[in-house]
Amino acid sequence: MVKRFGSTVALDGLDLSVARGEIHGFLGPNGSGKTTTIRILLGLLRQDGGAATLLGGDPWRDATELHRRVAYVPGDVSLWPNLSGGEVIDLLGRLRGGLDEKRRRALLERFQLDPAKLGRTYSKGNRQKVALIAALASNVELLILDEPTGGLDPLMEAEFRSVIAEDRREGRTVLLSSHILSEVEALCDRISIIREGQTVETGTLAELRHLTRTNVTAEVAVDPTPLAHLPGIYDVRVDNHRVSFEVDGDQLSVALAELARLGTSSLVSHPPTLEELFLRHYRQAPPL
């Protein structure tokens, strides 16, 4: 998809596919186009180029029909100052075509929200809870959540994770835009990382890790300097007989063979954390 706002290009050929029944993590730095993508998927904005399909329909043309099957939680929830939280939950539920009463009660309990307070008196976290409960209590196939836990405390965030995990078991699809890596790591089946309106990585966490470098630290018997000359090995640091480096996934066996030759006495290796993946993609200079 392509989307321009005047002279700024918000989406520059972004690709995103979310399979039914999966929880898809949608990651990217601030201003990379996550919210714009979501708004196009909801028919609130119209793309300038490319195509989008949501649940088999056109998100712009079939917006009303599709929205019966979708619930959305915006990143920055603003409520009507004079409506209570309970009223907003009921209203949004009715506008979507129905609310599961049992779930509504259970979610109010789990998120510890007082539904009798007026919109203007809620804190950011509580406004977020109102939108979350309204979305999670409705009978929809797809949840689109734009940084839904931004204002939640750690207890509530844990509660959110367990609710989403239950939703997955019930077969709901979730598109989750988030900056909270542990959340994405714990919940998501697949992730897409975008930067400056383009998709830079997409796949399961395992695939992404596989595609990227592994961190290796080893104690060797002889001078490990020759390692540095192997292809696919980066960031070599030598401290006497201790060496640490990063290695491309497809060069790992070559590196291990070399380590064996050097007489390795101890070896620690770990896949890149999501944080490392993140930082690498976020910092990368834009392709020219």
Binding site: F5, T35, T36, R39, L42, G43, L44, L45, R46, A63, T64, E65, H67, R68, V70, Y72, P74, D76, V77, S78, L79, W80, P81, N82, L83, S84, G85, G86, E87, V88, I89, D90, L91, L92, R94, L95, R96, G97, P115, A116, K117, L118, R120, T121, A131
Partner: protein, 527 residues
């Protein structure tokens, strides 16, 4: 910390952000009296024609209620009579709206908090808002005085007029500084401010018409007429405005220092845990959001209608006692009886009132969109057309209800006075309700702007001000007919028949259709 620290910096920030709005107010409020005086200079150059005006309107309590008494037949005094009260109401409106905009609204959106955490004194935001509004008032007053001098009107009178306008602005700026502290939300504060302004208007009208004279002394708007610019120039009246402003502003600062940021002196109630069954769709939501404002506006209009209905009686009395004057009035009002002219005139005022309501209500669409509250609604199974129609329906039906209530009350009060309730009820409410198509043209224009040119929605207000100028001043300033014809209200006079109604309804429908089409095809505003 110095409680006023950062005041000047905040003032500069407001000036930078809001100068177009401030300049628009200055242009309208300074332009009104200067243009009126200029037209009087040209059209009523000889004393005889001015004496005719005084003879026609001077002794008439109905017009005194509308516009205030005439104290002198000089050009300046006639200007003060013709435009002083309307200008004063607009100046008060400006002061209240600007004060709330730069204090309570800032708090409601959380921007005030952002500033409050920086090096800004506790009183600085309120002081900055007062500085801005008082400065704008001084600019308006100064320009008015200079403009009147430029027309070679007497110096003292020009100065008194300018100071009189300035005095109204500072009093209502101080009123704004108090109401902004009382409530939690800007909307409620505005409602409270409007109620105080309405009370001031009614007290002045009652005092100037047939009621006890002291009532007018209770109203800051009445102080302007009692200053008598270009007549006696009673300077000491300005002391009343100065004293009241000082007391109210001190009260505002005292309240501001006693409460928490974001909180009001009046605390909000808890709401219901469940939504009532009526809150089940976009229309239920629009009604819920707008009903309080409809009740408030209708109540305000009802009071004004009752006032007009009551004073209208005097028109008849005056005419029966003075056949010569009756002849003059007949000539002035064309073939219609003078009472009908009076009701046509007041119906126009009520229609402008209803139009202001309908513009405000229709533009709620834009407010909802800009505050990201349209987004969650449109992300549900609510079609865009339904969202748009919900608020427009309230605007259209609400303005009709207002006109109906206003017409019935004006007809009933007048009918009770002349002993013909049934007859007057029908004829007066017919006149007032007959204005509805013109009101809806304005509503349609607001809807078209929202759909097609959402950034330019404030133009709907400019349109309303243009209609106000044409309607209020067009006749007396002898605007050319084509200019008068541009206002939809011009075409709805008694006996104008069905054709203008049909044409105006058609224009309103086309504008509404354009608005719907535009909104369906455009992107939603993003933050």
């Amino acid at each position: 910390m110095d409680p006023l620290l950062g005041t000047l910096r905040l003032t500069r920030l407001v000036l930078r952000l809001d100068w177009p709005r401030l300049l628009t107010w200055v242009a309208v409020l300074a332009g009104f009296p200067i243009l009126t005086a200029g037209a009087f200079v040209e059209l009523y150059a000889d004393a005889a024609s001015r004496n005719g005006l005084v003879a026609t309107f001077g002794a008439n309590p109905a017009y005194a209620a509308l516009l205030g008494p005439i104290y002198d037949s000089s050009i300046g005094a006639l200007t003060a009579w013709r435009i002083g009260v309307i200008g004063g109401v607009l100046a008060s409106l400006m002061a209240i709206l600007l004060m709330i905009r730069h204090t309570r609204d800032e708090e409601e959106t959380g921007r005030r908090e952002l500033l409050g955490a920086t090096v800004v004194g506790r009183y600085a935001p309120l002081a900055a808002a007062l500085l801005i509004v008082i400065g704008t008032g001084a600019l308006i007053g100064g320009l008015v005085a200079l403009g009147l001098l430029q027309l070679e009107l007497p110096q003292a009178g020009a100065l008194a007029y300018g100071l009189g306008v300035f005095a109204i602005v500072i009093v209502f700026a101080a009123v704004g500084s108090v109401v902004a502290q009382l409530t939690h939300g800007g909307g409620t504060a505005r409602g409270l401010g409007m109620a105080i302004l309405g009370l001031a208007f009614v007290l002045r009208a009652a005092g100037d018409a047939s009621g006890p004279e002291f009532l007018g002394w209770l109203s800051p708007l009445g102080w302007f007429t009692r200053l008598r610019p270009f007549a006696e120039n009673r300077w000491w009246v300005l002391l009343l405005s100065g004293t009241l402003s000082l007391v109210l502003a001190m009260l505002g600062f005292a309240l501001a220092s006693r409460r928490d940021i974001g909180a009001g002196v009046l605390s909000p109630r808890a709401g219901p845990e469940r939504a009532p069954t009526s809150l089940n769709g976009p229309f239920g939501l629009a009604w819920r959001l707008q009903r309080a404002s409809l009740v408030g506006w209708t109540a305000g209009l009802a009071v004004i209608a009752a006032l007009y209905g009551t004073v209208a009686n005097n028109v008849d009395e005056l005419m029966s006692g003075n056949p010569q004057l009756a002849a003059v009035l007949e000539a002035l009002g064309g073939t219609e009886a003078i009472t009908a002219t009076f009701f046509a005139f007041t119906a126009g005022i009520l229609a402008l009132f209803a139009s202001a309501y309908s513009v405000r209500t229709a533009l709620r669409l834009r407010v909802e969109e800009e505050n990201q509250r349209a987004e969650p609604i449109l992300a549900t199974a609510t079609p865009r057309a339904a969202f748009m129609a919900s608020h427009l329906l309230v605007a259209i039906a609400g303005s009709a209800v207002m006109l109906g209530v206003g017409g019935v009350i004006m007809g009933a009060t007048y009918g009770a006075n002349v002993g013909d309730v049934a007859g007057q009820l029908v004829s007066v409410s017919g006149t007032v309700l007959g204005q509805a198509p013109a009101v809806w043209v304005i509503t349609g224009a607001a809807a078209a702007l929202f759909g097609l040119l959402p950034r330019l929605t404030p133009l709907a207000w400019a349109l309303l001000v243009a209609c106000l100028v044409v309607g209020q001043l067009g006749q007396i300033l002898r605007f050319p007919q084509w200019l008068l014809n541009l206002s939809p209200f011009t075409h709805l006079t008694a006996g104008s028949g069905f054709l203008p109604v049909a044409v105006l309804l058609g224009i309103a429908l086309v504008l509404l259709g354009a608005g719907f089409g535009g909104f369906r095809a455009r992107d939603l505003a993003t933050s």
